[in-house]
């Protein structure tokens, strides 16, 4: 296991490098002349030159990148023009809300999608199968934010079951609608994947072996088949997380959820570029971190992983 973790780490490092390079280049292009951006109209050439030297902006691009990396390593993401405080502090405030939302959405997606997909596979070619597949097709075809609005209309305005906006006191009720909204798309994908993976696994000879032992069909499916079908589903969930996070800004806007996504959008409106790019980078890091966990889960379930990576 340790070995596997190590090899995964080695794969993540180049990606991290690429990710930071991308944000760095964006900053570089995006800020145009950062000095003017910082100082606005009243730019004094002399002071500007001094600031340039101070921030290393007169150095070659490569040096600037190492400078940027150095700052990143100590958590320095720059300074928010708008909020007049370090970007890292702004982000740290918003991170928990987004993680909470994304986690809840993923749980919804895995539970709903997994169970629905399993039912569809076991009841293959029945009305249940058709119904579940139609719903999941709808799930992956609906724009996230529109689904959010419709849920607000239905459960918030017309039925009045759940609050429709804000974080509240951090309780459960405020989380329900945003998590459902954000999880629906992935639930659709996961249901489709679980179904096809399970159908594939049920065709395998080891399932036949299990049946030939005299095991109950329920045991055959829940123990022998599902354990194997989970593997491709996990991989998909890892990739799907990127999509889920992509839906975060939209969902957070619809529900006025005080997370990173909403911060990103409002910073964009204010042209607060350091915050935009800081949040962007943080999203990528969340994704990479979560995928790392998915890989570990994969290794824990599949004994073959150890060998192939060794």
């Amino acid at each position: 296991m340790g070995r596997y973790v190590l090899s995964r780490c080695r794969q993540v490092v180049p990606v991290l490098f690429g990710v930071t390079l991308i944000t760095f280049l964006l900053i570089h292009v995006g800020l145009g002349d950062p000095v003017r951006a910082m100082m606005g109209q009243r730019s004094d050439p002399e002071i500007a030159a001094r600031i340039r030297t101070e921030y290393g902006l007169d150095k070659p691009l490569w040096n600037q990148y190492t400078l940027y990396m150095g700052k990143l390593l100590v958590g320095d993401l720059g300074y928010s023009y708008r909020q007049r405080r370090p970007v890292s502090r702004v982000l740290a405030e918003r991170l928990p809300a987004t993680v909470r939302l994304a986690f809840a959405a993923m749980v919804v997606a895995l539970l709903v999608g997994g169970i629905a997909g399993t039912i569809a596979a076991v009841r293959h070619n029945t009305l249940w199968d058709l119904l579940i597949m139609t719903l999941s097709l709808l799930g992956i075809s609906t724009p996230v934010f529109w689904l959010g609005m419709m849920l607000i209309l239905l459960f918030g305005v017309w039925l009045g079951w759940f609050p429709i906006s804000g974080y509240g006191d951090g309780g459960f009720t405020h989380l329900v609608l945003p998590a459902l909204t954000l999880g629906a798309l992935q639930a659709g994908y996961i249901a489709r994947m679980t179904r096809s993976a399970l159908l594939e696994v049920l065709r395998q000879e080891y399932v036949q072996t299990a049946r030939a032992k005299g095991l109950r069909e329920r045991v055959v499916i829940l123990k022998h088949a599902l354990r194997n079908a989970i593997l491709p589903v996990l991989t998909l969930a890892g990739i799907g997380l990127a999509e889920l996070l992509a839906g975060a800004p939209l969902t957070e806007m619809v529900f006025a959820w005080p997370g990173l996504g909403r911060l990103l959008v409002s910073a964009l409106g204010n042209r607060d570029i350091p915050v935009v790019l800081g949040a962007t980078l943080l999203f990528a890091l969340i994704y990479l971190g979560a995928n790392f966990l998915v890989d570990l889960a994969y290794a824990a379930i599949d004994p073959r992983v150890e060998l192939t990576k060794r």
Binding site: L6, S7, R10, Q11, K309, R310
Partner: protein
């Protein structure tokens, strides 16, 4: 007789990747010092169990892989020293038929294009002439004009194998490597394809290197047979001689393991212990010694060499 193909001390090691940054230098010794000749017009059989390196050999001879060491001469040309254009010319003379009738034909190409591709590549024929050649080739392998526009998935395994043979023959080769060409087929179809190989050899004067794990098939079709074990040839002899008088304990065990189609003949079985070792960790001395029923103290110390113990009968074993 003059050799058409000479293989000299051929080696192919595949590195085992371990992580991205730290290589730990383990390697698979798929082919580990193989030498033999194939004479013009004969069928040379190559038998061995899975993982013994026989398919890697085929790919090396055709230069689908670059060797770790060693040489292959085809006629006068040294295969690994030819330049691109020379290699292209050489490829007209040596062809291959693969094992898997499913993956060996491009699923998106109709049969006439598959068979005619060699003609196009070497500018041997075009237009009507090409169509005629393709029909000739299809008829030669027992198919016909009516099959031209169809796609591979419309054919059975045996028919696909016939298409593969026609594709190889299109460029007019002298030498054909058959890499397990019948092992995926049903028994009744196997015989058809084996007969086809024999007929084509007679008609076209082809030379074959016939690779298989089924000793019955190899025995039937080959003039001489080489037995491979873990990347090396352990015995090589005329086909009848090898089956009448096997010398290497591995060959003896292989032969005795073949189920005989005669319930009366209860031969003495030689059972080998265990599985073939992995080509990553090759045993010291004679690489067969851990499974050999006749091993003695010298066997795990010293590696035997392939020696000619009687006319045309080569064996690599300390017993001789």
């Amino acid at each position: 007789m003059e050799p058409l193909l000479v293989v000299k001390n051929l080696k192919k090691y595949f590195p085992l990747k371990r992580g991205i940054w730290f290589g730990e230098g383990a390697e698979v010794r798929a082919v580990d010092g193989v030498s033999f000749e194939v004479r013009r017009g004969e069928t040379m059989g190559l038998v061995g169990e899975s993982g013994c390196g026989k398919s890697t050999m085929a790919r090396l001879i055709l230069r689908l892989l670059e060797p770790t060491a060693g040489e292959v001469y085809f006629g006068k040309a040294s295969v690994f020293e030819t330049n691109k254009e020379e290699m292209r010319q050489l490829r007209r003379r040596m062809q291959i038929v693969f094992q898997d009738p499913y993956s060996s034909l491009d699923p998106r190409m109709p049969v006439d294009e598959i068979v005619g591709e060699g003609l196009t590549i070497h500018r041997l024929a075009r237009g009507k002439e090409k169509t005629d050649r393709v029909v000739d080739l299809l008829e030669m392998v027992g198919l016909g004009r009516e099959h031209m526009g169809r796609y591979p998935h419309e054919f059975s395994g045996g028919q696909r194998q016939r298409i593969g043979i026609a594709r190889a023959l299109a460029v007019g080769p002298e030498f054909l490597i058959a890499d397990e060409p019948v092992s995926a087929l049903d028994v009744s179809i196997q015989a058809q394809i084996i007969n086809l190989f024999e007929d084509l050899q007679e008609q076209l004067g082809l030379t074959y290197l016939f690779i298989a794990h089924d000793l019955r098939v190899v025995k039937h079709i080959s003039d001489r047979v080489a037995v491979m074990y873990l990347g090396q040839i352990v015995e090589l002899a005329d086909s009848d001689e090898l089956y009448r008088n096997p010398l290497h304990p591995y060959t003896q065990a292989l032969l005795s393991a073949i189920p005989e189609v005669d319930p009366q003949s209860k031969r003495q079985r030689i059972f080998l212990e265990g599985d073939p070792p992995s080509p990553v960790q090759i045993p010291s001395g004679c690489r067969f010694h851990p499974r050999c029923p006749k091993r003695f103290d010298r066997c795990d110390q010293e590696e035997p060499v392939l020696r000619e113990v009687s006319a045309g009968h080569w064996v690599s074993c300390h017993l001789y």
